[in-house]
Amino acid sequence: MKNVTVIIEKNEERILPFFFADGENCELSVEVRLVGEGARVDIVGIFVGSNDNRMLFNTSVVHLAPRTVSKTTLRGVLRDTSSFSNDGIISIQKGAKGADGFFSSKLLLFDNAKGKSIPSLEIEENDLKAGHASTIGRPDPYQLFYLKSRGLSDEEARRLIVTGFFIPSIELFPVEERKSVKKRLSL
């Protein structure tokens, strides 16, 4: 497992984009430490798994200073027998007053794919806002039905749904990277 630690200082704002597709395996553990007041991080991850890809992506965001903000957004589409596993921790330490941490992960599973998600919160401060939301599922059959009723093939409908699924998180990538991400996703 590869470990990365990122330290974010006072009033610094960072976007940490991660993109794994095209059959890349991924084994990565990212720790972000918000050490200065007003530090902010946006972790954005897009994962496309196919065949027997194994994707392991853990995040740990530690709020150590007042008014620090973190937003973690992970989106994965998994096909075939690929799997995705995430252990996502938001830790708000004592003294990190007014901290705001949010974690969200959504996985779309196709075929025989597997998903695992453990989004944890560890909160030692009472003046805070924190939350997480995780969903794992397949595309909404009514969405598929609606698209197909307008003449799209199953494949086209799926692609459209996957596109719609990724677009909002692509918007969170730094501007200069959005184009290449879209290209690699063939959107």
Partner: protein, 463 residues
């Protein structure tokens, strides 16, 4: 934020009643043989106990959750028998014991519900009244020891099938030394409309409480079982380690409600699990106040098609308390659905943790699950953690988890205060509002009691 001293435990009294018989402190094979002999148990149960004891020794302590290092297994009495006879009617119950029950309000409960009272005093049920209505319907509602004697076949058929002794260290301990608890069998198609209830209470110094409950709801039946717990204060640590096994057959429905308010030195380590078969419904409503450490994760195994499960969990941790609670839903069949709602409150340095598991097995096509955890942290000393795990091996599912942690909103408090309501009262109202989704699921008297307990925890008085 204003600080309040937590009150001395309101039900913190113990009477002078001397147990008639107890095994010596500590646990050896001899203790188990003694327990089994005292109860005149069949051989198979004695063997099961001995095997469980070996498993208990072999299993390591859980590495997560609360700090259990201070439990001294050698200092615990594993079996205390307060009276020789089962009380059939209220008049038969010894005055001292009655006095204790009066303080908890058992007669009230009996007045309100004709469905029968099974109340546990020390390790054994001493008072048990079964209403004619239940007998007529063929419902069995008795203490577990009696059930072993009276219904040996059914007992052997189901005992330990939902939670085997080797499941975890404390399930093994319970399987080795269990005593008391309730045994319920609801025949096919029978609905028990009034909640069945039992009160448990630890009342001997260093006394462990190892009750064992087994509920079998046959096809198409319905029962709601309610346990309310209060316990007196001890000077040394006390252990409560129960096992509750429930089998919900096809089309049946079981709801199991717990309001637990152990005194603040009790280790409350309970294993609860339900098997739910086709089209069955299993529900846990689990409210944890009190105790020093609670580790309890009621589980629902959805084994049959379209089985449904619901877990409502409430935890309140005050000074020195750690409530490590949550729920598990295991989807093993197609179109099963589950919902877990957890609400936790930590105050005065208390710590709450939600620990949950959501697992969808391959083949559980079309399953749905929704998990929602909300935590309130009331002051700077307290903390809250959320550890939900989702393991999904089937792609045709819809599962979601959401959690939030917050303090009581300043704007909410101000709104109340601007209408003349002082801060402490406003906080109590907001906290009671926060737990309302769970309280509304309780029978009326328990809802009132729970609101009262929250008020007691919040302000140190009821009024």
């Amino acid at each position: 934020m204003q600080q309040f001293d937590l009150p001395e435990y309101e039900f913190g009294f113990f009477d002078t009643g001397k147990p008639f018989y107890s095994t010596p402190k500590g646990l050896t094979e001899k203790t188990i043989l003694d327990i089994s002999a005292m109860k005149k148990e069949p051989l198979w149960m004695r063997e099961r106990r001995l095997l469980a004891y070996k498993l208990f020794l072999a299993k390591s302590m859980p590495e997560w959750g609360g700090d259990l290092s201070r439990i001294k297994f050698e200092d615990i009495y594993y079996y205390v028998k307060p009276t020789d006879k089962q009380g059939r009617t209220w008049d038969d119950v010894p005055a001292e014991i009655k006095n204790t029950f009066d303080k908890i309000g058992i007669p009230e409960a009996e007045k309100k519900f004709l469905a029968g009272v099974g109340a546990q005093y020390d390790s054994e049920v001493v008072y048990h009244s079964i209403s004619k209505m239940l007998e007529k319907k063929g419902v069995i509602f008795t203490d577990t020891d009696t059930a072993l004697q009276k219904y040996p076949e059914m007992f052997q058929q189901y005992f330990g099938t939902v939670i085997p002794a080797g499941d975890n260290k404390f399930a093994a301990l319970n399987s080795a030394v269990w005593s008391g608890g309730s045994f319920i069998y609801i025949p096919k198609g029978v609905r028990v409309d009034l909640p069945l209830q039992a009160y448990f209470r630890i009342n001997a110094r260093n006394m462990g409480q190892f009750e064992r409950t087994l509920i079998i709801a046959d096809e198409g039946s319905y029962v709601h079982y309610v346990e309310g717990c209060t316990a007196p204060i001890f000077t040394t640590d006390s252990l409560h380690s129960a096992v509750v096994e429930i089998i919900v057959k096809k089309n049946a429905r079981v709801r199991y409600t717990t309001i637990q308010n152990w005194s603040k030195n009790v280790y409350n380590l309970v294993t609860k699990r339900m098997f739910v078969e086709e089209d069955g419904i299993g529900e846990w409503v689990d409210a944890n106040l009190g105790s020093q450490i609670t580790m309890k994760y009621p589980s629902i195994y959805l084994k049959g098609k379209r089985a449904r499960g619901e877990i409502l969990s409430l935890a309140f941790a005050g000074n020195g308390q750690h409530q490590d609670a949550g729920g598990k839903a295991i989807h093993m069949a197609p179109e099963t659905s589950s919902s877990i709602i957890s609400k936790s409150i930590s105050k005065n340095g208390g710590r709450t943790s939600y620990r949950g598991l959501l697992k969808v097995h391959k083949g559980a096509i079309g399953s749905k699950s929704n998990v929602r955890c909300d935590a309130l942290i009331l002051d700077e000393e307290s903390r809250s953690d959320t550890y939900p795990t989702m393991l999904i091996d089937e792609e045709e599912v819809t599962v979601g988890h959401e959690a939030s942690v917050s303090k009581i909103g300043e704007e909410q408090l101000f709104y109340f205060q601007s209408r003349g309501i002082p801060q402490a009262q406003a906080e109590t109202m907001i906290v009671n509002g926060f737990v309302e989704p769970i309280v509304k699921e309780l029978p009326m008297e328990y809802a009132v009691e729970l609101n009262r307990l929250v008020q007691l925890e919040m302000t140190g008085s009821v009024g």
